[in-house]
Every structure is written in structure tokens, then in C-alpha cells.
């Protein structure tokens, strides 16, 4: 955890942390997207701390006060399980995934935990070469620093696209 970050929960982005911390967090999001786009699923759990949560919570359910999770991993063991199942059991559409991540904002800080928002669009290109808008939405993340590196203590994915085109295999 960087000592230079000033505490202050729910501070707007420009005072929530220093620029270096924000740049590290932003870069982590880009690496996260690239990891998934490069089909390096085995590396995906390493973006989380051991107690890290990964949840896909579609926006229609979220706004209705319902859970309705598409994926619910309440610690990194379940995130590793998801990778194992995708590799060893599940069959899904042949495609490339492309994560476009933007608007990475540290919107607040509570102790060591940075409250972060980012937008995403995930495109899928099918095995006939056609690219589809697969999902658009927001990451609502809690980021902490472990050995100087930013990691997800929690990454809640909130898709606006609550109607899934066929199925979801590669994580958002």
C-alpha cells in the first residue's frame, strides 16, 4: 500500500489517490482485459487476492434488488474452479473475445481499499469472422495493493446487456 495516498472515503477521483496509484490501477484493468483476450485464462485468477470475489450481476437484477448472478465466485478458489471447468469440461462458441476498457476512475478510498469504476465493452468475433457487440457494462471494483501490485479484492461486473447472446463462457 502506497503511503502517499491520502485517506478519505468517497473522494472524487482527483483527490482519492495520487496519480501513480491511479495509473497502476488503470494499467491493471488493461492487463486484465488483455489476459482474457489472449485466452490466458490460467493467469486470470492472479488478478485477485486469495479472498477476492468475482461476481457478474446483471443490471436489471441489480436495480430490482435481486441477485440473479450469472457467475458467483466468493473467493479465488472458485475463480480457479471456473478456469478448470472452462478448460476441462465446458464447450462453447468458437470465438475471439475483445475487451475494451475505459473510464477507469478511483471514486473513493476506505483505508487500504480503493473503490474503482470502469466501463467495458466486450466484442466477440465468431468463427465466420463476424464481430458482435456481446456485452457492455461497468466494473464496480474494490482494489487493494499486494506486494506493491494492485489486485481485486472484489470485481463486480454489471452488464447493461442483460440479454445474453447465446451463452457466456470467457469471463467479462
Amino acid at each position: 500500500m502506497s503511503e502517499s495516498v491520502r485517506p478519505g472515503p468517497q473522494e472524487p477521483s482527483d483527490t482519492a489517490g495520487d496519480g501513480a496509484v491511479e495509473r497502476k490501477i488503470e494499467r491493471m484493468f488493461y492487463l486484465y482485459g488483455k489476459c482474457l483476450d489472449d485466452d490466458r485464462l490460467e493467469d486470470w485468477p492472479s488478478f485477485f487476492i486469495e479472498s477476492g470475489r468475482y461476481v457478474i450481476h446483471p443490471r436489471d437484477n441489480l436495480e430490482a434488488g435481486l441477485e440473479g448472478y450469472w457467475i458467483y465466485c466468493d473467493h479465488r478458489r472458485m475463480i480457479r474452479d471456473r478456469v478448470l471447468s472452462l478448460r476441462e469440461a465446458n464447450i462453447y462458441n468458437i470465438h475471439y473475445a475483445r475487451h475494451l476498457i475505459s473510464n477507469v476512475l478511483v471514486i473513493g478510498r476506505d483505508g487500504d481499499v480503493h473503490d474503482v469504476r470502469a466501463n467495458y465493452v466486450v466484442l466477440q468475433t465468431d468463427n465466420e469472422g463476424v464481430t458482435h457487440n456481446f456485452s457492455a457494462g461497468e466494473y464496480r471494483a474494490k482494489v487493494v495493493f499486494e506486494d506493491g501490485e494492485p489486485k481485486f479484492a472484489e470485481n463486480i461486473v454489471v452488464p447493461d446487456t442483460y440479454l445474453v447472446k447465446a451463452l457466456i463462457a470467457i469471463p467479462l
Binding site: 441477485e67 458467483y72 474452479d81 471447468s85 476441462e88 464447450i91 445474453v164 447472446k165 451463452l167
Partner: protein
């Protein structure tokens, strides 16, 4: 098979033992249009929603019967009503929100206003303004109600029918279906969430899929690789209403009972182990030892218990070559946090990204793609477990699919051939 050999054109079904399904039945526009009249407006009870979704007077949800937009709502006296969501004036959807609460329903186009029973209670300027305009003198509000469905519910699940002489819902279900509703929906429950998928393919492909015992441990390799379910487990397939509805069940792991019968089956031992076994460890809730139940109620409703995960599924055709699948997951109101967390974790098994379900969309889409490409030429071959559609005490069978086609052909007036 030539293209003139379509069921829609009065040709008979290829074989009277139901072991062939002409691909044209998934593709033909005439068949899709006929299904609207003969099935969705025909002698069927169609899923509309849940009583707990419209708990209070004024609550409403919107849905579809086939492709017909429908509103289910509760009137001030507590009674349930459903009507076609199409204004009696110019045909606009009266209710645009997917769910909500209101005193009356007003179409935005010309502000025609309806009560919860679908009766027209207001139409602006109907007597004109300062002597100008207005409807003709014989205009009566009572003549312009929304089209109503008859509504009945069982165990909190609400169904509607357009068919005037339709038998009561309890008779349509028959006892084995009611028994499973009683077992799974007999306690107060609430929705935990909705999951929605759009799949390229005919709606009947999905309904066959949820009656297809053969594919369970083959397409969904999670079952065998992680030891959730094997074809060697005890299971049964039962049908009611001449095959229209089906109930597939499996029971807990019974290696002792099975003895040596399946000892050489390659998939017997799971290859992999989850770190979080709570996703597949079933907490015993039912005294009969049932681990899974997949119940289908013709034409588009599914009630499923997969381990401790509880859900309804509703198939909504979106044209002959697309359907939407809505998963409506639930928990019991008196669930403690332990059971809620068990269901939450097992939620990873189902839905559009479910370990046990994501493959279905892919399988149906590639079937649709191949069948569409040849204009419906050819037949599906379904002879696993024999040629009839009798109940069976195992799951190595396609009998429930054959039963489905028997009921479908009867309702569609498609003759059998020898």
C-alpha cells in the same frame, strides 16, 4: 425429402413411431404461424408469471404467450387477470415496463386507459371538443376491452389460456406434475433473480433439449468430469398428457445399489476436483432422495431442481428461428443463510454461463445452422431407448422427445404415416 414434403403442407409425419423428426418442422413459416393458432391460442395452459411477482393489488408483469405480448396483473380485489398487451385502439403496447405497479394502464399513444381486468375506462375526446370530432354515437367503452386470457394458478405459478373450453389447470397438469409442484413449490418462495438468453434456433429445439436424457452426461461434460451426475445414476423419465409433459428425475449416488453393472464405464470416476465443492455438494432437502427434477409443461414451461438450485424456465419464441430463454430462480422465504448460500453457489451450475447449461445454447445454434442451410431437408433420428414413448426407469432414452412429438402432432393436426 423434397421441400414439398412439409407437415405444413398436409403431408404426414414420416414415421408413426415418432423416431424421425423432419427438420422442416423447425423452419417452416407456415408451421410457425399455425403454432400461434393451434398451440399458443389453442388448448394449452401457458406460463404467465408467479403470484409472488404480483403480490399486491396493482402489481403487474409483462410476458409473452408464444409471441403474443401479455400482461399479468392483480386487481384491487386481489384477483389475477391477464390480457393481450395491445391497445384496442391502434394496436400499440399498452404496458411498456417489464414490471411495476399502477392504478390503471394508459397507452401512451392516445391515452386510452384500462383497468386491471383490461376493461377500457377512458378514451380522450370521445365526445369531441366544442362540438368537433368525437367518436360516433354508438361508441361504447365496453366494446373495446383488451383481449383477456383465462387465468389459473397452481402452487403460486400462474398460467393463462386463450382457449374457451380449456380444461382446468389441475387436470391439464395431471397428478405426477402436481406432485412435483407440491414438492418444490409447496412452501412460500420468492424470486432471487432472472437470467435471459437469446438463442438462434427454433423454440422446439429447446423443449426437446430439456426432455433429452441422452445428452446430459455427454454434452455437459462437467457432469462426469467433476462427478455431479453420471448416466449410471438411478433416474426415471415419466410423461403425462400423452407425452406433452415430462418429468425427468435423478436420485443420489447409489453405487452400492448399482453393484457391478457400470463398473467399467469410463466416466465412472470424476477426473477433476473442484476446490469449492459446495458448488456440487447437494444438501439433502427431499426425503425421496431426488437430486434433480426437470419438469416440462407443454408448451414452454420448465420447473427444475438441480441439486439445491431451484428455478423456472420460460421459453419465448421470437420468430421461427430465435427464442429467448428466461430463467426465474427462486428460494424459499424461510431459507436460512446457509441454504441461501448453497443455492447461490449452485447457481453457477445453471443459466447462460452455467457449468451444466452453457453448452445447450451452442448445441442448438449449430443444429439450427446446419438445418437452416439445407432448407429443412432431412430428418432427425431419435431411437435411443427404443421407438415408443413409454415411461422408463432409466435415462438412457429419448422417449420423452418422442412423447413430445406425439402430443405436438396431435395438437397441430399433423397425421401419422406408417
Amino acid at each position: 425429402m423434397s421441400r414439398s414434403n412439409l407437415p405444413a403442407h398436409g403431408e404426414p409425419w414420416p414415421k408413426n413411431d415418432l423416431t424421425r423428426v423432419p427438420y422442416s418442422v423447425y423452419l417452416d413459416e407456415e408451421i410457425f404461424a399455425a403454432e400461434n393458432d393451434l398451440i399458443f391460442r389453442g388448448p394449452t395452459w401457458n406460463y404467465l408469471g408467479l403470484e409472488c411477482e404480483v403480490r399486491d393489488p396493482g402489481d403487474f408483469v409483462t410476458t409473452f404467450v408464444g409471441t403474443i405480448p401479455v400482461v399479468l396483473n392483480r386487481a384491487s380485489d386481489g384477483s389475477l387477470h391477464a390480457f393481450v398487451n395491445r391497445c384496442a385502439h391502434r394496436g400499440a403496447m399498452v404496458v411498456r415496463e417489464s414490471r411495476g405497479h399502477c392504478d390503471s394502464h394508459t397507452c401512451i399513444y392516445h391515452q386510452w386507459t384500462y383497468d386491471h381486468e383490461g376493461r377500457l375506462i377512458g378514451a380522450p375526446y370521445r365526445k369531441g371538443i366544442k362540438g368537433n370530432g368525437g367518436f360516433p354515437g354508438d361508441f361504447r367503452l365496453a366494446d373495446h376491452a383488451l383481449e383477456k386470457l383465462r387465468v389459473e394458478s397452481y402452487a403460486g405459478v400462474v398460467f393463462g389460456t386463450f382457449h374457451e373450453e380449456m380444461e382446468p389447470l389441475v387436470d391439464y397438469m395431471e397428478k405426477p406434475v402436481r406432485d412435483r409442484f407440491d414438492a418444490l413449490c409447496g412452501r412460500p418462495y420468492r424470486v432471487t433473480g432472472y437470467q435471459r438468453q437469446i438463442v438462434e434456433g427454433n423454440w422446439k429445439l429447446y423443449f426437446e433439449n430439456v426432455k433429452d436424457c441422452y445428452h446430459g452426461s455427454l454434452l455437459h461434460m462437467f457432469n462426469s468430469n467433476f462427478g455431479f451426475f453420471r448416466s449410471t445414476q438411478r433416474g426415471t423419465s415419466a410423461m403425462t398428457k400423452g407425452g406433452l409433459h415430462s418429468i425427468l428425475t435423478t436420485y443420489g449416488k447409489t453405487d452400492e445399489e448399482l453393484g457391478d453393472t457400470f463398473k467399467d464405464i469410463a466416466t465412472h470416476k470424476p477426473k477433476f476436483t473442484l476446490e469449492e465443492t459446495g458448488v456440487i455438494d447437494v444438501v439433502r432437502e427431499h426425503s425421496d432422495g431426488m437430486v434433480t427434477t426437470i419438469l416440462t409443461l407443454f408448451p414452454t414451461f420448465v420447473l427444475a431442481q438441480i441439486g439445491n438450485h431451484l428455478g423456472f424456465r420460460h421459453v419465448r419464441p421470437k420468430g421461427r428461428d430465435r427464442f429467448e430463454l428466461v430463467w426465474i430462480n427462486f428460494e424459499y422465504e424461510d431459507d436460512d443463510e446457509f441454504h441461501r448460500e448453497v443455492r447461490r453457489k449452485q447457481g453457477n451450475l445453471l443459466g447462460p454461463s452455467g457449468y451444466l447449461s452453457m453448452e445447450d445454447a451452442e448445441a442448438l445454434e449449430i443444429a439450427n445452422k446446419a438445418v437452416t442451410g439445407d432448407f429443412g431437408n432431412g430428418y432427425a433420428f431419435i431411437e435411443m431407448g427404443g421407438r415408443g414413448s413409454d415411461d422408463q426407469d432409466h435415462l438412457v432414452t429419448e422417449a420423452p422427445i418422442r412423447g413430445f412429438w406425439r402430443g405436438y402432432c396431435d395438437m397441430m393436426g399433423i397425421p401419422f404415416d406408417d
